[in-house]
């Protein structure tokens, strides 16, 4: 169909608009204000504080998971916390990303010997970016977001390249 050719999955219009939206997604990553432990102070409070100012990069906090794009898991997740983390992740609308901040969220960190602690939050939610450090500096978190932005861009490009290929 002509219309399909104009606006369908493989059309130039679709690809162009998708590129635009991809930029928008990258430039406006709202994170959920969900601090678990020590990392919350560095990654959420200091990073959005006056010195590091996350707002600069378009990264902004929302208290409700429904309005967030990124979940920063900032701290140790134990068995009591795990269902809540999973639930909050499920409540976030697509597309969504997870940043595991700090040693605890990456692997369990200093507390991974304790049987009540989960060895990494990637056991329950898919993690996009790992930021080692205990706690990472606010700049490390900002660098993590830059890595995440690159990842989003790469993903979209991959997808669009496939679409272009199919369209031909």
């Amino acid at each position: 169909m002509a219309l399909d050719k104009l606006t369908g999955e493989h059309s130039a219009l679709f690809i162009r608009s998708e590129q635009l939206f991809d930029v928008a997604r990258r430039k406006s990553l709202w994170y959920m204000a969900f601090g678990i432990a020590c990392c919350a102070i560095e990654g959420l409070m200091h990073a959005s504080g006056p010195r590091f100012d996350f707002d600069r990069m378009g990264v902004f906090f929302r208290a409700s998971p429904r309005q967030a794009d990124v979940m920063i898991v900032a701290g140790t997740v134990n068995w009591k916390m795990a269902p809540t983390v999973r639930r909050l992740y499920d409540e976030m609308p697509e597309p969504k990303w997870v940043v595991a901040m700090g040693a605890c969220a990456c692997t369990g960190g200093p507390f991974r010997e304790y049987p009540n602690v989960m060895m990494g939050v990637d056991k329950i939610v898919p993690v996009d970016v790992y930021i080692p450090g205990c706690p990472p500096r606010p700049e490390s978190v900002q660098y993590g977001f830059i890595v995440l932005m690159d990842k989003i861009k790469a993903k979209t490009e991959e997808r669009l390249a496939a679409a272009r290929h199919d369209g031909r």
Binding site: A37, I41, G75, T76, K80, A82, P115, C134
Partner: protein, 568 residues
């Protein structure tokens, strides 16, 4: 000590009282007599009416339940120990000492005891089915297990099931099948200390009111505190604090770490004032091992401690503004905190997790750049603190929000085991730095601010004044820093002799104590961390009824909770 013996004899309690080196008077009673002994000790003329801490020690044969009592009037301390068999019944003493409310629940679950006579005997820190973690028989994960991360398999669908049962988990019974034991105090009017209700939790199933779950993800719970509120309109009928979302076994893990490495855990327990928890542990270790600390190290400990205290009070003051809606206050205070963290990073190497105070001294000497930074900071801070005081404390809206809200009178504050600024806000003049001087505090000059009203505003006033006093002490420390070594000669792998000690420091949240049991090896046998914020939390919980939601936020904010410390 002899007085305590006499009191117990008169009460017809079989007890042995002895003095343990580096700890003090220890009184041993049988589990059955513990209640009677505690009542006698509280009501007698020696009036040991303040429960400092309540915890257990697994001795290998039984669980020693330790009641750490203090008499403010006579400035005396007494440790009452009662041996309980594994899996036996722990009878609650919350009606004698309301401060035991939460520590009792915690001790019972972590040592596998059954709690009797408690108004809310649910599990506190862990979920159902968790083993008794603090028992010596339970092993932590070993090197093989933690290095092989992929082997730990979690089925996300299992979590989904947990999610659906999350709502019911509120009403879940403790591990024991018997369920709730009958309350010792049945009618609401008879709650001790003039409480509106007995803190028996929220009856979710039978309530006709709106049940509101606040947390663990909520902007103003400062971490992962969960409050279950029973609401009549906006007024709270009953409230329950659910904690344990950050329980990561710091006390247990300390038993498998060398003395020099325990500080890394303690940094993360009270994560905004790491120096103080490190210091408490170092002091306790030095007491047992008999290490003399050089004077310069003591001064450096004070200096770093006070810098850290300001940094910690800032993380309370800013979010306090945020809780009450003043966004600007949060960011203005964080400007100072950035400067402070720069200084701390310069001296210790990290911004928050210092790993700096070690048994015997401190890790590094102060740097010249740090000294210059401290002086600039002090000049700036003198201006900023007055601005902040005017911005928030002088604001009529904030005053209307906080004055007369969450009032604890003297008796209530003492009864719930409050310490630190919360206690001083209620008119009790007690400060560990002045009354039990440690490090170099005996040589420093400072005032202890006290406010009488006992409301949220009074606590704010006390903390604000403490920041000014800290700045004063920092100036003294930096001007009068004595020459010498920054650490004593200590063996690389420290093996303190068999012994027991208790060391307390005045952390920003109150009396932070470390009760250390050493068994002669290079690993601590038991490390009990007295979390001042836990006691503050249970007081806050007990005073929730009658407030509005907005008040609850402000009240919990004023207690300065750090959940890492509450849950450990």
């Amino acid at each position: 000590m002899t007085a305590a013996k006499g009191v117990l004899q008169r009460a017809a309690v079989a007890a042995s009282v002895e003095t343990v080196e580096s700890l003090g008077a220890v009184c041993r009673v049988s589990a059955a007599d513990a209640r009677k002994a505690l009542v006698a000790l509280r009501d007698s003329d020696i009036s040991l009416g303040f429960l400092v801490d309540f915890f257990g020690i697994d001795t290998g044969e039984a669980v020693d339940i330790v009641y750490h009592l203090r008499s403010f009037a006579r400035d005396e301390e007494l440790f009452v120990k009662a041996a309980h068999d594994y899996g036996s019944v722990l009878s609650s003493v919350w009606d004698i000492f309301p401060a035991a409310l939460m520590p009792e629940r915690e001790t019972a679950e972590l040592f596998g005891l059954t709690l009797a006579g408690h108004p809310n005997p649910k599990r506190l820190l862990t979920t159902d089915g968790c083993p008794a973690y603090l028992l010596k028989s339970l092993e932590v994960r070993g090197a093989d297990e933690v290095r092989n991360r992929a082997a730990q398999h979690v089925d996300p669908t299992a979590l989904d099931r947990t999610v659906s049962s999350l709502a019911e988990s509120v009403a879940q019974e403790p591990g024991s099948a018997s369920g709730k034991t009958p309350l010792p105090v049945a009618e609401p009017g008879a709650a001790p200390l003039g409480l509106v209700r007995i803190p028996s939790g929220v009856d979710v199933e039978n309530s006709e009111h709106l049940i509101l779950n606040m947390g663990p993800q909520h902007p103003s719970t400062h971490g992962v505190l969960r409050l279950i509120l029973e609401l009549d309109g906006e007024e709270i009928v009953s409230g329950e604090a659910v904690i344990g979302y950050l329980h990561r076994g710091i006390e247990k893990l300390a038993e498998s770490r060398r003395y020099s490495a325990v500080a890394t855990l303690l940094d993360r327990a009270d994560y905004v004032s790491g120096i103080h928890s490190e210091l408490a542990f170092a002091l306790a270790t030095e007491k047992i091992a008999g290490i003399e600390v050089p004077r310069r190290a003591s001064y450096l400990r004070c200096l770093l401690g006070e810098l850290n205290r300001i940094a910690s009070h800032i993380t309370w003051y800013g979010p306090m503004g945020l809780d009450s809606g003043a966004m600007g206050q949060f960011l203005y205070t964080f400007r100072d905190r950035e400067a402070l963290l720069d200084i701390l990073e310069d001296i210790t190497g990290q911004r928050m997790m210092f790993n700096y105070v070690r048994p015997g001294g401190v890790l590094n000497d102060i740097t010249t750049t740090a000294e210059a930074k401290i002086r600039t900071f002090l000049d700036d801070f003198a201006i900023h603190v007055e601005e902040n005081a005017e911005l928030l404390m002088g604001n009529e809206i904030f005053q209307a929000r906080t004055q007369g809200v969450g009032v604890f009178d003297r008796e209530q504050a003492l009864g719930f085991g409050l310490t630190g600024a919360c206690l001083r806000g209620s008119g009790v003049d007690w400060d560990v730095r002045r009354d039990r001087p440690y490090a170099a505090y005996a040589e420093l000059e400072f005032d202890v601010p006290v406010a009488e009203q006992g409301d949220v505003y009074a606590r704010c006033q006390v903390r604000l004044e403490e920041m000014r006093q800290s700045a004063r002490m920092i100036r003294q420390c930096i001007d009068g820093l004595p020459e010498g070594e920054h650490t004593a000669k200590v063996a690389k792998v420290l093996r303190p002799p068999v012994g027991e000690s208790y060391a307390a420091v005045e952390s920003p949240r109150g009396e932070l104590g470390v009760h250390l049991v050493a068994d002669g090896t290079d690993l601590p046998y038991r490390m009990r961390y007295r979390p001042p914020a836990l006691y503050a939390l249970q007081a806050g919980e007990a005073f929730l009824p009658g407030l509005l939601i907005a008040d609850a936020v402000v009240l919990m904010g004023s207690m300065d909770l750090i959940l890492g410390e509450v849950d450990r």
